[in-house]
Symmetry: C2
Subunit: 566 residues, 2 copies
C-alpha cells in the first residue's frame, strides 16, 4: 500500500529549512530509498515517494509557516538539480501506475502555483545544476527560474528525443502557455536531448536569468532578500500577491505564534476500508464500488466562530480535518484500489451545523488560516474532479449536503435524492461559499459549470431561502434523479450495477470530457489534453513495447519505431 | 489509395437536392458500397467513403449554391436516420485508420458549423428515425434538431455502454459545450444504450423539438420556410447569420447566376508523389519526409481585381485552386502516406503577386465568393494545423511566403530561412489578411498564437513596411533559424534526419500540445482533448483486445473487461 502521509521528520529526499520568512526546500534524493523495487534514484531523479514528500512540504508551509514569503527550491547534489522522473521506474511500472504517478506530480506542481497565486508565496527555482525532464518541469512550476552558468548545466525536456514519450508533468503546456515561449522555439527545445544552457535559455524565455558559479548563491540570496524584504513591490505580479501579507495578517500570525501544526491523520486501515474521524470509506471490492461517507461537524456549540478560536483548535477544526481525510481517501482510492470504479458519496449530520461553519469561514476569509482552509478545500474538491472514478451522490434522510459539502454533490457525476416524506425529509442547501470559494480547474464554480446553459439558474439557486427539499432541488436542477421510496433501493442498486459493468477506460475518457464543460485553463489543458496524449503514448509500442524507446533506455539494445504517423 | 475527390454525380450514399434557397441532403447509404472489405453499411451507418461525400456536398453548397439559406439533413431509410460510424468497419480497422477517420469526420462536422457561423446557412437535422452514435453527432453539428415521435425513434450515444469507446466525433463535447446539457444528464445520456425519445430528449436540451409521424414533414417544412423566407429574424442567432444574405449579396448572386462550379482537380498521381497545377508533392519515402512546394500566382496581369472577374474565372482563380490542391495533398498525406513524418514546405513565385491577390481579396471581402474563398483558405490552414505530421517551412531565394502563403510558414512547427545575399535575397511578407482572415481552431490568428508573450510584436509585424529580409524576419521573431550559405544544405539535411528519427507518437502528442497555445474553443477541445482520450481508448484492450467490447460487438462472444481504473 502506498501511504501519502508523511512529515518533515520522516523525509528521506528533501530538507525543509525555514529561516524567518524564507523557506528552502533542498532536494537530496537517496537513491536506495524507493517506493518499489528494481531501480535506483540516481541524479536526484524521483519516484512517487519523493513527490509525496514535496507535496507534504508545500502543504505544511501554508499551514505551519504562514509567515514564509519566499520558497527556494534547489539541490544538494553537485552539478545536478534534478534529472526528472526516474526512467527505470517508469519503464517497469504498470500503465495505470504511470498515469496516477503523473497525475499526482501534476497536482503537486499545481499546488505550488496555487500557493503562489492565492497566498502570495513566491517560488524560486535555483538550478545549481542541470534540470532535465521533470526537473525542468518542477522549475517551470515556480515563479522564477535561475540557472547556474558553469559551462555544463542545462535545462532540457529530453522525453521526446530520448524516451519517445512526452514531458508528462505539464512541461509542454507551461512552456507555451505559462512562459509563452514561441511555438517554433518550444518545438526545438522539446526535441533537443541536450537542452539549452543559460544564454539561449534566457533569450528564449525558458529561464529568467543565469549566473556564474562563483556568483550563483549570492545572486539567489539577493533576489530572495529583495522579495522577502520588500512587501509591496512592482515585481510582485498580482494584486493577490501584493496584498497577501498585509500588516494586519502579519500581526495575526505573530500574535499567535507561527501557524498551526498538521498532526498525523488518525485513521484505521481495515481489510475493507479506511476509517477516519469524519470520513469512512467502505470498499465493496467484489462489486467494484466504494461507499464514502462524510460526517458533518458536531456539536454546534464546540465550533469556534472567531479566527482565534479556529487557530487554537488548529488541525482538529472540522473543515480542515475532514478535508485532509477526504484528500487521503481519494488518493488511497486512486492508487491502492484501482478496481474500485464507482464511489457512492453520502453525508451524515445537520445541515445547520455545516452552514454555521461556512458562515464562520465566509465571515473571516480575510484571516490567513481561514483563507488557507478554504483554498485547501478547493484543492481537495479539484482532486475529486480529477479522480478517474465515477461518483454518485446519494441523498438520504439525515444527510447534510450543504455549503462546502454540497460541492461533493456538484462534483459527482450524478445524484440520487430520496423523495419520500414518510421516510423522513431530505434536503440540500447552498451557502455563500458555493458562489466562488471552490473554483474548479476550469476557473468556474461547480454551479456555473452545471448551469452553463442558463446562468440565471446559478443566481436563483444562490438566492434560495432555506433548504431545498427533494422537489425543490429537482426543480432547481441540482439533482439528477428523485425517486420515491418504492423505487429507492432498487434504483440505487441497479445504478451501481450498471455503472460498474461499463468499460473503465471509456468511463474515464467520458468523465474527463463531461466534467469540464466551458472554458479551459492551463490546468485543464494539463489534465485534459496533455495527460490524454501522454496516456495514449504510454500505451504505444513505440514507447513501451519490447522495441520501444522507454523500454530500451539505458540498455545496450536500441529502440526501433513503427514510423506510421497516426 | 483513398480518393477524397468526388462530385454529386458520383455520390453513392447521399442525394443533394436544391430547390431555390433550400437544400436537402438525404442519406441513403448503399450497404455494399464500402471503402474496404469486411463489413456492410447497414442502417445508414457510415465509413470514410460516406463522409467524403458529405464533406464534398457541404463544400459544393458554399461555392455552387450560395443562394441556399437552409440545409436539411435527413434520411431516406424508414425509421432510421443514421446508425453512426459502422462498428464492424471500426473493429477491423487499424488504429491509425480509426484515428484518421475520426479526424476527417470531425472536420466535416466543424465545416458544417463553419458554414453556419460564417456564411449564415442554417442546418436542420430532420431525424425521421433513430439517430445513434455518429448519427446523433451529425445531428448535433447542425443548428436545430427535430426528432420524429413514432413511439420508437430515439437519439443515443451508445458508444460507452455498447462498445467501450467514446462517441468520437465531438459528441461528448458538443453535448455539454454546444447544447450545454447539464453534466449529470449528459452522464446519464452517454451511458444509456437505448438513448432518449422525444419528450425527455427535448426536456434535457438534446433536441429542439419532436413531432408525431403524421406531422413530421409538414413541421420541418414549416420551420424551413420560416427561415428561408424571413431574412432577418430574431430566431437567427448571430449577427453573421442575420446579415449573411444581404440584399446586395443576393443581387450579386442572381446577376451572375448561381455560384461557381467546382470542377475536378487536375492532378497526376506519380509513384513518388502527386503533381497538381500549383502544388507539387514529392514523397521521399525511404527518408520518411515529403517536399511540398506551392507555386504563387502568375502572371500578375491575368489576375482579376474585381469580384465579377473572379467569379468569371471561377474555380481556376489561383487562391481557390491552390487551396483546393493543398487540401487534397494534406488529406492524401494523412491517409495514404502514413510513414511520411515530416513535410518540408516551400513556395515559389513573386511576393508582389501574392500580395496583389491578397489585396484584391481584402478589398472585396464583402462579396460572397471572396468571403467563401477566404473562409475556405482558413479551413485548409486549420487542416494543416491538425495534421499529425511535422512541418518545416524552408525559405530560399525565389520563395513567396507572403500574406496567405505566410500562413503556411506560421502553421509550420519550425522555419529555416537562408541568409546569404550572394545566393540571392530571401524575403517574407505580411498582408492585411494575416491580421484576422485565417483564425486557428483556438480563435487566434497564427501571429497572435506565435507572440502570446508579447502582443505588441503582432502589431509591429503587421505594421512593417515592405518585405522582411532574413535578418529582419529573424529580428521580428518570424523565423526559427537563419543559417548562412555555408551551413544551409547541412543544416536542412540534419534537421530532416533528426526529426524523422524521433518517435512518431511522441511527436504527434508534442505537436498537438505546442501548436495550440492560448485559449481553447469547442473545436480545440474536440481535436485536443476528446480525440486524445479516444486515441487512448482505441488502444486499450478493453476496447480493441480479443476480449474488448469493440472486438466482440455483434458476436456471440461477450466482452470481458480489466476493471482497473487508470
Amino acid at each position: 500500500m502506498i501511504n501519502f502521509q508523511t512529515s518533515p521528520e520522516q523525509y528521506k529526499h528533501w530538507k525543509l529549512n525555514v529561516a524567518g520568512n524564507v523557506a528552502t526546500l533542498t532536494m537530496d534524493v537517496q537513491e536506495d530509498v524507493t517506493i518499489a523495487a528494481g531501480y535506483k534514484l540516481k541524479l536526484n531523479s524521483y519516484d512517487l515517494g519523493v513527490d509525496i514528500e514535496l507535496a507534504d512540504a508545500i502543504q505544511r508551509l501554508r499551514f505551519e509557516q504562514p509567515q514564509v514569503k519566499v520558497v527556494v527550491i534547489t539541490s544538494l547534489k553537485p552539478r545536478i538539480f534534478c534529472a526528472g522522473a526516474n526512467i527505470y521506474m517508469l519503464g517497469t511500472s504498470s500503465h495505470a501506475f504511470k498515469v496516477n504517478f503523473c497525475k499526482f506530480t501534476n497536482e503537486t506542481r499545481c499546488a505550488i502555483e496555487d500557493d503562489s497565486h492565492h497566498s502570495g508565496r513566491r517560488y524560486i527555482a535555483a538550478l545549481n545544476g542541470t534540470a532535465s525532464g521533470g526537473g525542468y518541469e518542477l522549475a517551470i512550476a515556480c515563479d522564477e527560474i535561475y540557472l547556474v552558468d558553469d559551462g555544463n548545466s542545462a535545462i532540457s525536456l529530453p522525453e521526446v528525443p530520448l524516451l519517445g514519450v512526452l514531458p508528462g508533468t505539464g512541461g509542454l503546456t507551461r512552456v507555451v502557455d505559462k512562459r509563452k515561449v514561441r511555438r517554433d522555439r518550444a518545438d526545438v527545445f522539446s526535441t533537443l536531448a541536450e537542452g539549452l544552457k543559460g544564454k539561449r535559455a534566457k533569450e528564449w524565455g525558458l529561464i529568467d536569468d543565469y549566473f556564474p558559479t562563483s556568483k550563483f548563491e549570492e545572486s539567489i540570496d539577493a533576489r530572495v532578500r529583495e522579495i522577502a524584504e520588500v512587501k509591496q513591490t512592482a515585481s510582485l505580479r498580482t494584486a493577490a500577491e501584493a496584498t497577501a501579507f498585509s500588516d494586519s495578517e502579519s500581526s495575526q500570525i505573530n500574535s499567535l505564534g507561527y501557524g498551526i501544526k498538521l498532526n498525523p491523520l488518525q485513521r484505521e486501515l481495515k481489510p475493507a476500508g479506511v476509517e477516519y474521524k469524519w470520513v469512512n470509506l467502505i470498499l465493496n471490492r467484489e462489486e467494484r464500488y466504494a461507499d464514502l461517507t462524510v460526517q458533518g461537524p458536531r456539536p454546534k456549540g464546540d465550533l469556534p466562530i472567531t479566527p482565534e478560536g479556529i487557530q487554537k483548535l488548529g488541525d482538529s477544526y472540522w473543515p480542515l480535518q475532514v478535508y485532509r481525510e477526504l484528500d487521503d481517501a481519494l488518493l488511497h482510492l486512486r492508487v491502492n484500489e484501482p478496481e474500485i470504479g464507482l464511489v457512492c458519496v453520502r453525508t451524515q449530520g445537520n445541515i445547520e451545523d455545516v452552514l454555521a461553519v461556512d458562515e464562520t469561514l465566509a465571515a473571516n476569509n480575510d484571516h490567513w488560516l481561514v483563507r488557507e482552509i478554504l483554498l485547501y478545500q478547493a484543492r481537495v474538491l479539484r482532486r475529486m474532479d480529477l479522480t478517474a472514478k465515477s461518483f454518485f451522490a446519494i441523498i438520504e434522510p439525515g444527510s447534510c449536503f450543504a455549503g462546502n459539502l454540497l460541492e461533493l454533490l456538484l462534483a459527482s457525476d450524478r445524484s440520487y435524492m430520496l423523495n419520500d416524506p414518510e421516510e423522513g425529509p431530505t434536503a440540500v442547501s447552498v451557502s455563500t461559499l458555493n458562489a466562488g470559494s471552490f473554483p474548479m480547474s476550469n476557473g468556474l464554480t461547480r454551479l456555473q459549470s452545471r448551469f452553463l446553459a442558463d446562468s440565471e439558474k446559478v443566481d436563483k439557486v444562490l438566492a434560495h431561502k432555506g433548504v431545498f427539499d427533494a422537489a425543490e432541488a429537482d426543480e432547481a436542477g441540482l439533482i439528477t434523479f428523485v425517486p420515491d421510496d418504492l423505487d429507492w433501493e432498487d434504483e440505487i442498486r441497479v445504478a451501481i450495477e450498471e455503472r460498474t459493468s461499463l468499460s473503465p477506460d471509456a468511463l474515464t475518457g467520458m468523465e474527463a470530457s463531461l466534467r469540464f464543460a466551458g472554458p479551459e485553463t492551463m490546468d485543464t489543458k494539463i489534465y485534459g489534453r496533455l495527460t490524454a496524449w501522454q496516456n495514449w503514448i504510454f500505451q504505444r509500442p513505440n514507447a513501451v513495447g519490447p522495441e520501444g524507446a522507454l523500454t530500451n533506455y539505458g540498455k545496450p539494445t536500441q529502440a526501433h519505431f513503427d514510423f506510421k504517423r497516426t
